[in-house]
Symmetry: C2
Subunit: 249 residues, 2 copies
């Protein structure tokens, strides 16, 4: 049975992490399958009284999935009174996952701070489930399992924020190999946006950002005309991250 020193935590405040994984043109989310229940959950947890909320998110992600060194970005506070049925807490009690001492704590109203990260998921360590969970898995964004509380909405909001960021921030470093073709970069955008893009507009716009270097080499071996290989200009890429791309005012 779980032991938890409740004096250690801020009441009514939690964090939830949306870890989106990209690999071979697939977008997946890292989810925990709850013990003895037919529901899945985002990796989340409580905030210690002497801990910054941003730091709590990093700690909670590591405790619940084993993932380390993930750069998490805060994106929204979910503050509705009714964030979905907390009936799962009764299940936790009945099945002995928690004792009566923790029932009131888990049943209280929580507002939760959403954090997200986008990672190349073959490059992160194998995720590990925690005490509450029987497994920790990458689940395809299209066709998610049944999620507890408002976690499906939290995940959807994180995906929306990510799509919006494509309009003013660069993306791709650490998600693509060091050298990549324009079709490969386009495939990344299409996966994240969930829609097809026009090839010529994509190339024009992307080159307009001024963050790509065309190497002197081409990818050979395909059936079609060999495409140029590009690299990110890392200095300009980082400036774009910090200040916005040059489409901005």
């Amino acid at each position: 049975m779980l032991a938890l020193n409740l004096d250690k935590y801020q009441p009514g405040l939690s964090v939830d992490c949306v870890i989106l994984g990209f690999h071979q043109n697939e977008l997946k989310a890292l989810l925990l399958k709850m013990k003895n229940m037919d529901k899945w959950s985002l990796p989340g947890g409580f905030v210690e009284k002497d801990e910054d909320v941003d730091k709590a998110a990093v700690r909670v992600l590591q405790e619940r999935t084993g993932l380390k060194n993930i750069f998490l970005r805060q994106f929204h506070l979910f503050g509705e009174v009714d964030r979905g049925d907390r009936g799962h807490v009764d299940g936790l009690l009945q099945k002995g996952v928690i004792g009566k001492d923790l029932y009131g704590w888990f049943k209280q109203r929580f507002v939760t701070v959403g954090y997200y990260a986008l990672v190349e998921y073959s490059q992160v360590e194998a995720p590990q489930p925690d005490y509450f969970s029987e497994s920790c898995e990458w689940c395809a964004i299209n066709g998610l399992p049944d999620l507890m509380l408002d976690h499906a909405g939290i995940l959807e909001k994180a995906h929306e924020v990510l799509k919006r960021q494509l309009n003013y921030q660069p993306i791709g470093l650490n998600l693509l190999p060091k050298r990549f073709t324009m079709p490969e970069l386009q495939a990344l955008y299409e996966t994240l946006l969930g829609k097809a893009l026009d090839r010529r507009n994509f190339q024009r716009k992307m080159l307009g950002y001024g963050i790509l270097i065309r190497t002197g080499e081409r990818r050979t071996g395909g059936a079609h005309k060999s495409p140029w290989l590009y690299e990110f200009d890392e200095e300009k890429y980082r400036r774009g991250l910090a200040e916005g791309l040059n489409v901005s005012w």
Copy 2:
């Protein structure tokens, strides 16, 4: 002395509102001057136990400043353990603004949810100070008075978020007269961004958004060539708000 039923509120959770006002090419923030103290404050307050956080922000803004019907947008949770010196609470106690019964409540750690709005400030009702405040005023963004806690940082963050939104969302409806010239629209952007923009680039980009209608009329009477009058295409404007401008992917 203040009477407050502490059982009514979520512990450790507050909201703060950054109300930015635009009028005659000036950007100002609505601030409260605290009673008997040489500090100013954002309009903020607590969240009721049975109240959505978004709704608490609207209520708190009205209670503290009298402002009604303001569309507030959530932009960030400020969750650091140390959000600045809470010494002002001792002052509130010494000066009899609060009693001993409330001291512990005001001294506790709060995380605060930031909301902002941009309004044409000559069009909002005259702001009124509340119990804690001796005045409620529009203060120029350049040259703010001394603010309590981390409120200067909260205000700066709201301004940053607003500037970033100029890259993918339309702005100007309800801030400009129904018909306006391109230089007037450019002046709005320059005020919000705090920098000068190139006239020709501005016009090209703005027309590229496809949200403007050029009326058949010109503004006459100025020293220079009479500029065209424009209106927003409200349908396209609203689509741009909902889906992002057509510079987006």
